[in-house]
Subunit: 168 residues, 2 copies
């Protein structure tokens, strides 16, 4: 396979994956482009590569920066801003986990806390099923939360090695 073809396939695949994750296709494509680029790229270069508008680049790059996945880089002597992405997959994974924990898991835990103590007839089957189910989910979510914390503190090798030893 030729380089250009492989590159386009990668950008395409990364974009498709992202849509299944609630991240916009364009944001993921920009990320993919920056990940495989040896040097930081300018807004113009991103526009050119992906055939998208300036406004679109600006918005999505801003969100990538917000996620902590991309940095603004100023080159001495240049007026333009450039952008570069973290390339280490383990660091990317941890950063995504950190953000998703904050954005998704923590709000859910908050709601679960609020709704776990309801007034009502404990003999009512509906109430009973509800409280039991909610407390089960709460326990599960708390475990997931702790697991992510372990992961965030771990090194890749240490984390996966420890984990994979469990398989034996």
């Amino acid at each position: 396979m030729k380089f250009e073809e492989a590159k386009n396939q990668f950008i395409q695949a990364w974009g498709t994956l992202a849509t299944q994750w609630g991240i916009s296709r364009t944001m993921a494509q920009i990320h993919a482009l920056l990940i495989i680029s040896p040097d930081p790229l300018s807004a113009d270069e991103i526009m050119e590569e992906l055939s998208i508008s300036r406004g679109n680049v600006n918005m999505n790059v801003r969100e990538l920066i917000d996620w902590g996945l991309v940095d603004k880089v100023i080159k001495p002597g240049e007026r333009k801003e450039f952008f570069s992405a973290e390339k280490d997959p383990w660091k990317i994974t941890k950063q995504v986990a950190r953000e998703r924990k904050k954005r998704e898991l923590e709000p859910v835990l908050k709601v679960l806390d609020q709704i776990s103590n309801i007034e009502g007839d404990k003999k009512d089957k509906k109430v009973k099923t509800f409280t039991e189910t909610i407390s089960g989910i709460k326990r599960m979510a708390a475990n997931a939360d702790k697991t992510i914390e372990v992961m965030l503190k771990a090194e890749e090798n240490w984390f996966f090695n420890s984990l994979l030893k469990l398989l034996k």
Copy 2:
């Protein structure tokens, strides 16, 4: 908090969570409703509870069945079909992981394999960065794949206990 209020909050929260995961809001709301319902529900009951159309219920229930999260239940003597959801959060989590692995991780691994051997000048910085980044992602994805396999074979207690011991 009253039961009805708590119930609506839960359905709402579950639906919001789902949209961040690429699952449609309605599908998640139906799931939430079935999870907290002591008995299987009919299409009519779901329509009524969530104020959505019959066609919508049918399509989303079908997809939940496809995900292995919901079962069709036939009550003896009743013409209608009823639906019930698995309530054990650990089983739900494993089922979701199983499906996402199949739908997302495996296709990505396939693409990564295809694009990891490119012809081209190995001294070209672009080519070098590309191959290095791709192989790093591949290794990461393979690790994630194995980790999910471990998880699928594990019991909740065993899995989290082993994992949390690592924290100390």
